[in-house]
């Protein structure tokens, strides 16, 4: 090819043209719509069906929601207001019930001047968990602890805590946050003490009872460390000493100290618990107790020792084979048969025990899956390093197995938390059925069905959805290899 003579050509472009925008049909919103909603006859049909469903939901719910009333004294009041504003046939949500009775949904029959105690227990739960949950993300940890402290303080103040109580709370929480930010070692101790502190806050009474229960653990630990040269004996001795302390001494000692230095909070009995305070108490204690129990059961089921393996299999399969409701009935009807005549202990504690046993069987299966998924080379490598059984499990096997089982563990947690609503059938006041029924039984809120369900359902959704999002975050964070 030869270059044409510039003089013989009428026009030669000297500059580049700017690029044309793509055709309207192949870019932006139109392209997106075409690709995602209308790419073919089937897709168009599906889109239309989807729009139809949306319209159905919207047209049913919107009038009801948009007519909602937030300020009223009773259901009849609500209806009057809606009829006055939107005509006699209009129906509307009466969220006034939530505004009026939200405290019962959240706190049950907990004395209203002590609301700050469950709030503080719940807020400090995050302080206790933050160093564990967000171990290598200081930013997330600071956000969570900061929010927990601020919200606890503000909510307690709004709910009418006195200045002295607020001051105490502020000192405690700020000291704890300081500990979290400066000392990574001792903060684990604080987290371990937390359960006893929370029990004291929730049930009240003298601080020395939970403190002496804690002392049993400390005593056992000290004995175990002191005798650690003797291997198995040390552990057995520690268990015996701790058991002796709890059964024989702790009661006397705590009563003795309490007469000298009471340190009492107003006691709250178990039948005053209800609503989300009850659900969260049962749920959190069940979660905290079922994880270690599940690990032990899973290890027992994979153990080489046939008797231990058989016992673990029987326990796990039995628990997994019966509905939780029957176990709760055992807790309320039969547990008294199994204990020495005349003993009677708290129904919440019984339910916590049963829920824990129930969840631990499921947890054991999840963790067993994680243990089985671990390549055999890991076990052999641990043996080759000369580690004994517990060291191998603790340092090599369990960290990896637990990491693999995180999604399963969290979904077991979520399942257990949802199952705490079943305690209504043994006479406890769960937020979903018992509390709604109680409130509906009062004259002014007769006939309020949907509003309590929407309120309680959304709180459950937020908590459970939050847990599942956290598990995704954790999975991403722990994903160091196998990409």
């Amino acid at each position: 090819m030869s270059n044409p003579d510039p003089r013989s050509v009428a026009f030669v472009r000297k500059t580049m043209l700017p690029p044309e925008p793509p055709p309207a049909r192949a870019s932006g919103a139109v392209l997106w719509l075409r690709e995602n909603l209308f790419s073919g006859p089937l897709n168009i049909l599906l889109t239309l069906i989807g729009l139809g469903i949306l319209w159905l939901i919207f047209s049913t719910l919107w009038p009801w929601l948009s007519n909602s009333v937030w300020n009223a004294e009773s259901m009849a009041d609500c209806r009057k207001i809606i009829a006055a504003a939107h005509g006699p046939d209009a129906s509307g949500a009466c969220f006034a019930i939530i505004k009026h009775r939200w405290n019962q949904f959240v706190f049950g029959f907990y004395p209203s001047d002590l609301y700050w105690r469950p709030v503080l227990a719940f807020g400090t739960l995050f302080l206790a968990l933050a160093p564990v949950l967000f171990a290598d993300s200081p930013k997330a940890r600071r956000i969570v602890t900061g929010l927990a402290v601020a919200l606890t303080f503000v909510i307690s103040a709004v709910l009418g805590a006195t200045v002295v109580e607020l001051g105490g709370m502020a000192i405690l929480m700020l000291a704890w946050v300081y500990l979290i930010e400066t000392r990574t070692g001792p903060v684990v101790l604080a987290s371990l003490i937390y359960p006893f502190f929370a029990v004291w806050l929730l049930w009240g009474g003298t601080i020395w009872e939970p403190a002496m229960a804690l002392a049993g653990f400390v005593l056992g630990f000290v004995v175990w460390r002191a005798l650690s040269a003797y291997g198995m004996f040390a552990f057995a001795a520690a268990v015996v000493v701790a058991a002796f302390w709890w059964l024989a001494l702790s009661d006397i000692v705590s009563r003795g100290i309490a007469t000298v230095l009471p340190m009492r909070l107003a006691p709250v009995s178990s039948d005053q618990f209800g609503g989300f305070v009850l659900s969260i108490t049962i749920g959190v204690s069940g979660i905290a107790l079922s994880l270690p129990l599940g690990v032990i059961l899973a290890l027992a089921r994979r153990s080489d020792l046939p008797i231990i393996k058989i016992m673990a299999v029987i326990f796990i399969e039995f628990i997994r084979g019966v509905p939780l409701i029957t176990l709760l009935f055992v807790a309320s009807l039969l547990l008294n048969y199994f204990l020495p005549p005349g003993t009677n202990f708290d129904i919440i504690l019984r339910v916590i025990i049963m829920v824990t046993l129930f969840a631990s069987a499921y947890m054991a299966e999840v963790i067993r899956g994680g243990l089985a998924a671990l390549p055999k080379g890991q076990y052999e490598a641990a043996d080759a390093l000369g580690l004994d059984y517990w060291k191998a499990q603790r340092l090599i096997i369990l960290p990896q197995a637990l990491k693999i089982s995180i999604p399963g563990i969290v979904s077991t947690f979520i399942g257990m938390f949802k199952d705490t609503t079943l305690v209504v059938f043994v006479g406890l006041f769960d937020p979903l059925k018992a509390m709604s029924d109680t409130i509906r039984a009062s004259f002014e809120w007769k006939g309020a069905y949907w509003e309590p369900y929407i309120f309680v359902g959304s709180i459950f959704f937020i908590l459970c959805f939050g847990m599942s999002r956290y598990s995704m975050y954790l999975e991403r964070r722990l994903k160091r290899d196998h990409r």
């Binding site: 897709n43 889109t47 949907w450």
Partner: protein, 417 residues
């Protein structure tokens, strides 16, 4: 614990029970076993003492006494003069009924939603995600109560279907009438009914036996034809077309039987204040079934989605490269691998559904817990016996389901060398 051939076996000393790994495992097991036995005997001893204090003995005699209460929905004949044992059986059958129907419908919902969630249609995928997340993160009890409230508060009374210009109209081609007390559905009638084999008070219709036999024969024929087609394919390389023969084998005899017996649906008709002719399903049952279906369906949808995503795209591409058509690719390559991932969690969802059916307590449906663990327990005051029996039955039920599903699982499992 490896025995080294060169090492001399030292004579046994008592301390080896603790320090030698060969014997230590025996020691640990013995100690644990003794402790557990002591604990169990302590429990049993307490139980016996407590029973003695209350003046009760353990006995299952009450099962053969008159129950004296009614059960609204029953699969076998029952009235209040029957024994507690029969009431328990009715309850167990009700549990089984809701569990089996629930498993079937939850699987259908789950598969549809799971597939649609992967759809390229943005709107449908989002809608399904919302459904799955909402149902998975809110307690089942709430769904049961909400659906119960819909049925009792929103559904019309049977009366509303009356008159020239009724306030409510029946749905599904005038076949189903949901009311606030029961749901009227069509029943099956025969214009030329064969006899009934009576077994005690129950009867099995010959028509049922005929259908089962015909379907069984069709299945055997199906198996035979498939094997023959495989043989011919192995020999000649051409697979004969069999699908229309197989379809005919299933459909024609069934159609013939239906025509012969004159099988038809009898729609419910309003007579007086209530629906008659059709079957009136207890709303407690309908509510429980719907709630279990929607709740478990959301979980199954996630399982199905995970199963489909677990088959890497290269698998179907490789199948296409080999020249397999889409349907065969699905059946021979994708599905076997996806099922391997889907089946084990599906089993545990079926078990969960069966156990969750005990939430019938929230709607007052008389299942196993409602009869044996409810009214019978309260009437006879035999908590220990009733609870033990009930837990035993649930345990056996779950073991049977998981054993059955495990057989199926083994047939689709990856065959490893």
């Amino acid at each position: 614990m490896v025995d080294y051939p060169g090492a001399a076996n030292p004579p046994f000393r008592l301390s080896m029970l603790i320090y030698d790994r060969r014997y230590r495992s025996l020691t640990i097991q013995a100690v644990v076993f003794i402790l557990v036995m002591l604990f169990a005997s302590w429990l049993i001893d307490n139980t016996l003492k407590n029973l003695a204090i209350m003046g009760k003995t353990l006995s299952f005699d009450f099962l053969f006494r008159r129950a004296g209460y009614d059960i609204p929905q029953q699969l076998i004949p029952y009235n209040s003069d029957d024994t507690h044992l029969r009431a328990t059986t009715v309850g167990l059958l009700n549990t089984l009924q809701v569990a089996i129907l629930g498993c079937i419908s939850a699987t259908i919902v789950g598969v549809i939603v799971g597939v649609l969630r992967l759809s390229s249609n943005w709107l449908i995928a989002r809608l399904m995600t919302v459904y799955v997340e909402i149902f998975r993160n809110i307690p089942l009890l709430l769904w049961i109560l909400v659906i119960l409230a819909i049925f009792t508060e929103v559904m019309p009374a049977p009366n509303a279907y009356r008159g020239e210009n009724p306030a409510a109209s029946m749905i599904m081609f005038d076949m189903i009438a949901p009311t606030n007390r029961y749901t009227a559905v069509p029943s099956i009638g025969m214009s030329n009914p064969p006899g009934v084999i009576a077994i005690g008070r129950e009867g099995i219709s010959w028509a049922f036996i005929a259908y089962v036999t015909v379907l069984l024969l069709a299945y055997l024929g199906h198996r035979f034809l498939k094997e023959r087609a495989q043989r011919i394919q192995d020999e000649t390389g051409n697979r004969p077309t069999t699908w229309w023969i197989i379809l005919a084998m299933y459909v024609l005899p069934v159609l013939f039987l239906t025509w012969y017996f004159g099988l038809h649906l009898i729609p419910p008709v309003l007579r007086g204040f209530n629906f008659a002719e059709g079957t009136n399903l207890d709303n407690a049952f309908v509510v429980l079934w719907l709630a279990l279906t929607l709740y478990t369906g959301a979980f199954i949808a996630e399982i199905v989605r995970a199963g489909i995503l677990a088959v890497s795209k290269g698998q179907s591409e490789a199948a296409f490269a080999l020249g397999l058509r889409p349907r065969r690719t699905m059946r021979l390559v994708v599905l076997p691998q996806a099922l391997r991932v889907i089946i084990p969690p599906l089993i545990s969802q079926y078990l969960n559904l069966t156990k969750n059916s005990s939430l019938a307590i929230a709607v007052g449906f008389m299942d196993l817990r409602g009869t044996l663990g409810g009214t019978t327990l309260n009437q006879t005051g035999r908590e220990m016996e009733c609870m033990v029996l009930m837990m035993g039955i649930y345990l056996v039920l779950c073991l049977v389901i998981s054993a059955g599903m495990n057989v199926f699982n083994n047939s689709v499992r990856l065959k490893e060398r």
